[in-house]
């Protein structure tokens, strides 16, 4: 994506990498048996292990390990047979042990890549540097009372995957595309729900700029708290422009952590110059090296679903869909599955149109996910069948669709109950046509001179039949009676 910042002194290029924290979908925490669900009463989902009480020991949740491996496979990444949990030591009230158990020198997943479909139809690979498992911290509440902070440890110890990309991003929009693609992959493999509002997917961006053509990297700033798709591009662009302005005015970029203020749309330095961090990482002696055997990795690979890139290619190939439509349909696994259920034995392009236009539109209007769709794919299929059989018109079909979507009733039942079936019986339509011709001699004369006026008569018949008359049949009948052959 060609995206540059035109400064006073020339053109500048963005260099950006992302660090994503994705909360692992699991019932229990990474090292304890406490629950992970969102929104519980404070400190009710805390084990003495999470609270860092004396003598408590971590035991690794094997399912979280599997989730990380699955994610690694989805990122087309190397799976490391041996990885090490280390302690990252620092003091903070939401970090009860005084250290975070994380992976440092030996992460569970190594290099991989994610393919982005750019708007110009090309693809771009964003390199994945690594993925590692670590514990989440607790939550601090400030300002409830003067001079104190309240601490809730419910999130403490929940498993996170930290996913780090190479600095391959060159445009703010690419970061958004990457996040969307990553979210899609995570949801496909079922390892993270990707919910940014609840904090299950959090993003930090490392941003630097350099003059176009320069190959060395500039000094980067880490932007924290870009926790919505909407703000990712804004935050990166703001920060890149800030750095360009700074550099063009003879300043230098200081390596620092900055916070994105969504309300003001700007970034600001996060910490006043506090002591340099020295996390004193060392292997956690309470945990053994994490060893994966080939059989486990092979089983997880076999369990992997068809991933979006492969599915998209297949939709184009098998169903003859456009790359764009296929891309829209595969973004969510549930949507792709829905589409396939509708398309089976039907016209796939028509199915794709209905899913993308009518269904997605109706879902968006109600703010629903595809998982919560009130209209099952069999119902939409039934509607398309009614259309294909010529039993309802396209106009009626849309009406039936909305009614089925709202009420949950089946399209056939709606059509029957409301008598919406197309009238294809000549005996039923002929008297209406005859009356119409008799009542409108002037228009009849017109029509004989100008056959386009037949359309007016068709409209009148449709009106009179509540849209149920088969328009082709009406057209044929009128032409015959008007002697237009």
């Amino acid at each position: 994506m060609a995206w540059t910042i035109r400064g006073r002194t020339g053109e500048w290029e963005l260099v950006c990498g992302l660090e994503i924290h994705a909360q692992v979908i699991s019932k229990a925490k990474l090292f304890s048996g406490a629950a992970t669900s969102f929104g519980a009463e404070p400190n009710t989902q805390v084990s003495p292990i999470d609270a860092g009480m004396p003598g408590m020991l971590p035991v690794l949740n094997g399912f979280c390990v599997e989730q990380a491996v699955k994610t690694g496979l989805a990122l087309d990444a190397e799976i490391n047979k041996v990885s090490i949990f280390e302690r990252k030591n620092y003091f903070y009230p939401d970090l009860p042990q005084g250290y975070q158990i994380s992976q440092y020198q030996h992460p569970i997943v190594g290099r991989g890549r994610v393919l982005l479909d750019l708007p110009d139809g090309t693809t771009k690979a964003i390199g994945i540097t690594r993925l590692h498992l670590e514990q989440d911290a607790g939550k601090s509440l400030h300002g409830a009372r003067e001079g104190v902070t309240l601490v809730d440890l419910n999130r403490c110890g929940v498993a996170l995957m930290e996913i780090v990309t190479e600095p391959d991003i060159r445009a703010p929009e690419e970061a958004v595309l990457f996040l969307k693609k990553l979210r899609s992959l995570l949801r496909y493999v079922g390892t993270c729900d990707g919910n940014m509002e609840e904090g299950s997917l959090r993003c930090d961006a490392n941003v630097s700029v350099r003059r176009l053509g320069e190959t060395r990297l500039g000094t980067r700033c880490e932007i924290k708290n870009v926790n919505s798709m909407r703000f990712v591009a804004k935050a990166i662009e703001y920060e890149a422009r800030r750095q360009v302005e700074l550099l063009e005015n003879g300043g230098i970029v200081e390596q620092e952590t900055r916070l994105f203020d969504a309300a003001k749309g700007e970034t600001r330095p996060m910490r006043s110059k506090e002591e340099a961090h020295d996390y004193r990482y060392f292997p956690d002696p309470d945990l053994l090296p994490l060893e994966l055997d080939d059989a486990l990795v092979a089983r997880l690979r076999a369990e992997l679903p068809e991933l979006p890139d492969a599915k998209k290619a297949r939709f184009v190939r098998e169903y003859g869909l456009s790359a764009y439509d296929a891309g829209v349909l595969v973004a969510e696994r549930a949507a792709a599955d829905y589409f396939e259920a509708v398309a089976r034995g039907r016209d796939p392009k028509q199915a794709a149109n209905w899913v993308i236009n009518e269904l997605f539109g109706a879902l968006a209007k109600r703010g629903l996910d595809i998982e919560a769709c009130p209209l099952p794919p069999e119902a939409l299929g039934e509607l398309l069948d009614l259309l294909a059989e010529g039993r309802i018109s396209g106009k009626i079909a849309k009406e039936v669709f909305h009614e089925a979507f709202e009420s949950g009733a089946r399209p056939r039942a709606i059509v029957e109950a409301r008598g919406l079936e197309q009238v294809t019986d000549v005996g039923a339509i002929e008297p209406i046509v005859d009356k119409l011709l008799a009542d409108n001699p002037a228009q009849v004369a017109n029509a004989r001179k100008n056959p386009k006026v037949v359309g007016w008569f068709v409209g009148q018949v449709m009106k009179a039949t509540g849209g149920r008359a088969n328009p082709e049949l009406v057209n044929d009948l009128l032409r015959k009676k008007l002697g237009l052959g």
Binding site: G62, G147, T149
Partner: protein
């Protein structure tokens, strides 16, 4: 290696331990002595030796993904120096 006062003070800062000036003075001597003593290790040839990670080969035992713990707020908060509405109360954290 002999430590200086600034280094010991920095370690105390990292470890969040308040040290009065007189203790700091004494610790510089003691810690320097200990470090000088442990530096004998430099004599050992460890070329190509992997650092020890676990003393015996122990078969891994992973936890099943089941909720078996938690839901014990009273036990978690029982020893808290200060608590309020189910939260731990701590001195204000400055961002």
């Amino acid at each position: 290696m002999s430590l200086d006062k600034a280094t010991v003070a920095r370690m105390a800062e990292l470890a969040r331990i308040a040290l009065p000036e007189d203790q700091l003075e004494q610790l510089v001597g003691e810690l320097s002595g200990i470090l000088a003593w442990v530096e004998q290790l430099a004599e050992v040839d460890t070329e190509g030796v992997e650092p020890l990670r676990s003393v015996h080969p122990i078969r891994r035992s992973w936890r099943a993904d089941e909720v078996t713990d938690g839901n014990c707020r009273e036990a978690i908060l029982a020893n808290a120096p200060e608590r309020e509405n189910g939260y731990f109360v701590v001195p204000r954290v400055v961002e």
